[in-house]
C-alpha cells in the first residue's frame, strides 16, 4: 500500500509539474500587454520591443487604403476622449469590414516603431458596437 501511495503522489506531482511548465510556456508565447492608446505612450519605456495589443477608436476620416500597395493607414485615439494622444497605424492588407463606421473601436496587434513613430499592426480585430446587441444607453 505504501509503495502505491508513493506512486500516486509521484505521478500527481509529475502531472502538475508538466502542466505548470506548459502554462509557463504558453504565457511566454501568448501573453502581451493590452493597452489603450494613451497607456501605450506612457509605457513605451518599460515595454521594450514586445508585441502589444492596442485598443482604440478610429479617428473619423483618417482611414486611407492604398489598393495598389495593399497598405492600410489609419489613426487611433482613446475611446470617447477627444484630446487623447493619436497613434498612427499601418497594416499590410485589405481593410476589414465596418472600419469606417462612426465610433468603431478596434484592437490592433503588433509592434510600435519608435523611430518612425508608427504602429505596425499584423492583426486587426474590429469591434462593432452594434454587432449583437445595442448598448443599454443607446436603446
Amino acid at each position: 500500500m505504501k509503495g502505491r501511495q508513493i506512486t500516486i503522489v509521484f505521478s500527481v506531482l509529475l502531472i502538475m509539474a508538466a502542466f505548470s511548465y506548459l502554462v509557463f510556456l504558453g504565457m511566454k508565447e501568448g501573453s502581451m500587454y493590452y493597452l489603450e492608446v494613451s497607456e501605450l505612450f506612457e509605457k513605451l519605456d518599460e515595454m521594450g520591443n514586445g508585441k502589444v495589443r492596442v485598443n482604440g477608436e478610429i479617428v473619423p476620416g483618417s482611414v486611407n487604403y492604398d489598393l495598389a500597395a495593399l497598405t492600410l493607414n489609419f489613426t487611433l485615439k482613446d475611446k470617447d476622449i477627444e484630446d487623447s494622444p493619436r497613434l498612427n497605424v499601418i497594416y499590410k492588407g485589405p481593410p476589414p469590414d465596418m472600419l469606417e463606421q462612426e465610433g468603431v473601436t478596434l484592437v490592433a496587434e503588433g509592434f510600435y516603431n519608435m523611430e518612425k513613430r508608427i504602429f505596425k499592426a499584423n492583426k486587426l480585430l474590429v469591434k462593432c458596437p452594434s454587432k449583437y446587441e445595442k448598448k443599454e444607453d443607446e436603446a
Binding site: 509605457k43 499590410k92 465596418m98 446587441e133
Partner: protein, 670 residues
C-alpha cells in the same frame, strides 16, 4: 392583444412560485396532493411560456414594430426565416427562448417519470429545476422584458445585423441553448441525489439520455458557431480562442469528462462525489459563460451588449455554486468511497481517469487564459491579454494525449491487464502508426506536432476498426452467422459501446480538420486588374469582372473569378461585399468558398477601385477543413446510435424505477 405576451410571462412566474410553495409543503408534510399539484403546475408554466414565445414569433412575422424588441431586430424586407429566428437574435428574446426551453425540459422530466406518483426523488429534482426556471422568469418579467413597447411606433424596424443574416444564425444559438439548458436536468437530479444523500447509479441512469442529448447539442452549437464564423466573418478560420468561444468550450470539456467518468461509476461504483462535482461545474460554467458574454467585463471580438444582466447571472452563479458546494460538503463524510479503488495504472478505468484529468486540465488552462486580463489588472494594474498562442501551446499537447488515450483505452481491459496482453493488443495499431510516419513525411508533413496529430489519428482509427473486426469475428465464431449479420448484431446489441467508438472516430476527423487548417493554412493577398490572372500554389485565378446585384434587403458587389486547379477548370467563384439597406455604411464580406475533401479554396473580396475596377483579393487555402463538418456528422450519428433507437422494454423501465424506489425507501426525508 399586445399585452397577452406580457401577462403570460407574469402568469408563468406566479405559477412557478406556486409550484415552489407546493413542493415545500408537500415535502415537509409528506403530502402527495401538494406535490401532484406542483407537477401539474409545470404543465401550466410550459403552456404559458409556449404562448409567450409563439406570440413573439408571431409579432416578428406580422412586423409588429410597436414592440421594441421586434423593431430593433427586424424590418419589413427581412426574409421570413430570419424573422422567425429574431426570437433569439437579441438578448431579451434569447433569454425568453432559454426560459421556454427550460419549461419544456421540466415538463418532459415530470411527464416521462411513470412512477411520479410515488417517486421520492422527483419532488427534489423539480425543486431545483423550478428554482432555475424562476430565475429566468424573474429575468424576462423584470430585467429584460421582451414585450416592452416603443414610445413612438415606427413604420419600419431597424433591421437585423447583417452578420446575423446567415444560415448559421438559424442553427448556432438554438443548439447551444439546447445544450446549456439540457444540463439543467442532470444538474437538478444530482442536487436531488445530494439532498437525499444517495449518490448511487440511479441518477446517472435516469439522466443518461439527457446528458448525451445536451452534450451533442453543445457540440453542434460550438461547431455551428465555427461554421458561421468561417462562412460569414471572412477571416478564414473557425476558432480564435476568443473569450466568448471559450465560454462555450469550457462546459463542453467538463461535460465530456463527466460522460466518461459516469461510466466508471456505473461499472465500478467509484467516483461518486467527483461525478456530482463535474455536473455542478458544467452547469456553473454554462452560467459563467452567459455572465462573460453578457457583462462585457472581458473584452472580446464578439461585442455583446454590456448590460446589467451579466451581473444578475453572476449572482445566480454564486448562488448555484454556494448551494452545490454546501450540499457536497455536508454530505461528504457519508458519501466517501467505500467501494473498490482503481487497481492498476494500466486498466480501462485508469485510462478514463487520465481522460478526466486531461479534460479538466484543458478546461482550467482555457479558464485561466480567459480571465487572465482580469487577474493581471487586479494584481499588477495592467491588462495583459493572452492570445491564441497561449491556448495552442498548452492545449495542443493535451489534446494529443487525449487522442492517444482514445486509441489506448480499448486495448486495455477493466481492472487489470497483463503487460503481455497489452503488448499483443498493441502490435497491429502500433506498427501501422509507425508506418504512417514515413508516409506523412513524404507527403510533406514534416513538423513535429502535426506529424504527431496525424499518426495518432491513424492509431485511433486502427484500434477502433480492430474493435469492430474482433467483435464481429467472435460473433461469426460463436453463432455461425455470416459476417454481415454478425456485424449487425454486434453494433445493435451494444449500441452504447459501438456508438461511443463511432463518436471517437468522428472526433478524430474533427481533429484532422482542425490540425489541417491550424498548421497548414496558407494566406496571400493579391491585387488584380480586370482580366488579370494570379497563380497561388496549385490554383490559377482569373479575375473576370465586377458585378452588382440586388436581392431581398441588400445590394451585393462581387468579383467573378475563374478558378483553375492544376490546370483544370473548376468553376467560378464570386466573393462579394454586401450593402444592407438599413446599414449602407457597413459593408459586410460574403466570402466565396470552393470546398473539397482535401482542401478549401476561400476567397475574400477586400476592396476595389471604382474607376479602374481593380480589386484586392485575399486567397486562403485551408487543407482538410471539411473534415470538421464531416466529423461532426459522424459524432451526431454515433450519439444517436448510442441513445435514440435503444427502445427500452417496458419491464426494464419498471425494474429501474423499482430499484430506485427500493433504494430510496427507508430513507429519512427531511
Amino acid at each position: 392583444m399586445i399585452d397577452f405576451g406580457k401577462y403570460s410571462l407574469l402568469f408563468s412566474l406566479i405559477l412557478s412560485i406556486l409550484v415552489l410553495i407546493g413542493l415545500i409543503i408537500g415535502i415537509r408534510k409528506k403530502d402527495g396532493r401538494f406535490i401532484e399539484m406542483s407537477y401539474r403546475g409545470t404543465k401550466g408554466i410550459f403552456a404559458f411560456m409556449t404562448f409567450a414565445c409563439s406570440f413573439l414569433v408571431y409579432a416578428f412575422i406580422m412586423d409588429d414594430f410597436r414592440i421594441e424588441y421586434v423593431a430593433s431586430y427586424s424590418e419589413k424586407a427581412l426574409p421570413i426565416f430570419y424573422k422567425i429566428t429574431g426570437l433569439w437574435a437579441g438578448q431579451k428574446g434569447s433569454l425568453l427562448f432559454w426560459g421556454w426551453l427550460l419549461s419544456l425540459f421540466t415538463f418532459i422530466t415530470v411527464q416521462r417519470d411513470e412512477h411520479r406518483v410515488n417517486s421520492l426523488y422527483l419532488p427534489y429534482t423539480l425543486f431545483f429545476l423550478n428554482l432555475t426556471s424562476m430565475f429566468f422568469l424573474v429575468l424576462v418579467n423584470f430585467v429584460t422584458p421582451p414585450f416592452e413597447l416603443m414610445a413612438v411606433f415606427p413604420a419600419d424596424g431597424n433591421g437585423l445585423n447583417p452578420l446575423l443574416q446567415n444560415p448559421g444564425m438559424v442553427f448556432h444559438p438554438p443548439t447551444l441553448y439546447l445544450g446549456y439548458v439540457g444540463f439543467t436536468v442532470p444538474f437538478a437530479f444530482a442536487m436531488a441525489a445530494l439532498v437525499m444523500e444517495d449518490l448511487g447509479e440511479w441518477w446517472i441512469k435516469k439522466t443518461r439520455t439527457w446528458i448525451l442529448f445536451s452534450w451533442v447539442c453543445l457540440t453542434l452549437g460550438i461547431i455551428f458557431g465555427g461554421w458561421w464564423a468561417y462562412k460569414e466573418l471572412g477571416w478564414g478560420g473557425v476558432w480564435g480562442w476568443d473569450p466568448v468561444e471559450n465560454s462555450s468550450f469550457m462546459p463542453w470539456l467538463t461535460a465530456t469528462a463527466f460522460l466518461h467518468s459516469v461510466i466508471i461509476q456505473e461499472k465500478r461504483r467509484m467516483l461518486k462525489i467527483w461525478n456530482v462535482s463535474l455536473i455542478l461545474l458544467t452547469f456553473s460554467l454554462c452560467i459563467f459563460g452567459t455572465f462573460i458574454t453578457r457583462s462585457g467585463i472581458i473584452s472580446s471580438v464578439h461585442a455583446f451588449g454590456q448590460s446589467p444582466v451579466g451581473f444578475v447571472f453572476l449572482g445566480f452563479l454564486i448562488l448555484v455554486l454556494a448551494a452545490g458546494i454546501y450540499l457536497i460538503w455536508t454530505r461528504y463524510e457519508k458519501l466517501k468511497e467505500q467501494n473498490p479503488r482503481i487497481e492498476a495504472f494500466l486498466s480501462r478505468e485508469s485510462s478514463f481517469l487520465y481522460n478526466n484529468i486531461i479534460l479538466v486540465g484543458i478546461c482550467f488552462a482555457t479558464f485561466w487564459g480567459t480571465i487572465f486580463p482580469l487577474i493581471s489588472e487586479a494584481v499588477k494594474g495592467v491588462k495583459i491579454s493572452v492570445g491564441p498562442p497561449f491556448f495552442n501551446t498548452i492545449n495542443a499537447p493535451l489534446f494529443l494525449l487525449l487522442i492517444l488515450l482514445m486509441g489506448v483505452c480499448p486495448l486495455l481491459g477493466w481492472r487489470k491487464t497483463s503487460s503481455k496482453g497489452i503488448l499483443i493488443n498493441c502490435l497491429l495499431p502500433f506498427s501501422l502508426t509507425a508506418l504512417s510516419l514515413p508516409v506523412l513525411y513524404i507527403s510533406g508533413i514534416r513538423s513535429f506536432m502535426p506529424a504527431f496529430f496525424y499518426s495518432f489519428s491513424v492509431f485511433v482509427i486502427t484500434t477502433m476498426l480492430r474493435e469492430f473486426y474482433l467483435g464481429t469475428k467472435a460473433g461469426v465464431k460463436n453463432s455461425e452467422k455470416g459476417w454481415l449479420l454478425s456485424f449487425w448484431t454486434l453494433v445493435t446489441r451494444n449500441r452504447r459501446k459501438y456508438g461511443g467508438f463511432i463518436i471517437h472516430i468522428g472526433m478524430v476527423f474533427i481533429v484532422l480538420g482542425l490540425a489541417g487548417y491550424g498548421y497548414f493554412q496558407y494566406k496571400e493577398d493579391a491585387v488584380l486588374n480586370i482580366g488579370q490572372e494570379v497563380t497561388i500554389k496549385n490554383y490559377r485565378l482569373k479575375y473576370l469582372d465586377l458585378t452588382s446585384r440586388t436581392k431581398w434587403n441588400f445590394e451585393g458587389v462581387g468579383a467573378r473569378i475563374e478558378v483553375y486547379d492544376s490546370g483544370a477548370f473548376k468553376g467560378y467563384l464570386r466573393p462579394e461585399k454586401r450593402f444592407y439597406k438599413k446599414r449602407e455604411n457597413q459593408p459586410t464580406t460574403e466570402v466565396a468558398i470552393m470546398d473539397g475533401i482535401a482542401e478549401d479554396l476561400y476567397l475574400i473580396l477586400g476592396d476595389w477601385d471604382r474607376r479602374s475596377g481593380s480589386i484586392t483579393l485575399t486567397v486562403v487555402i485551408n487543407p482538410l477543413i471539411s473534415w470538421i463538418w464531416i466529423g461532426t456528422g459522424v459524432v451526431m450519428f454515433g450519439t444517436f446510435w448510442a441513445v435514440l433507437p435503444k427502445r427500452r422494454r417496458q419491464e426494464d423501465v419498471g425494474l429501474l424505477e423499482k430499484e430506485i424506489i427500493l433504494r430510496l425507501k427507508g430513507m429519512e426525508i427531511e
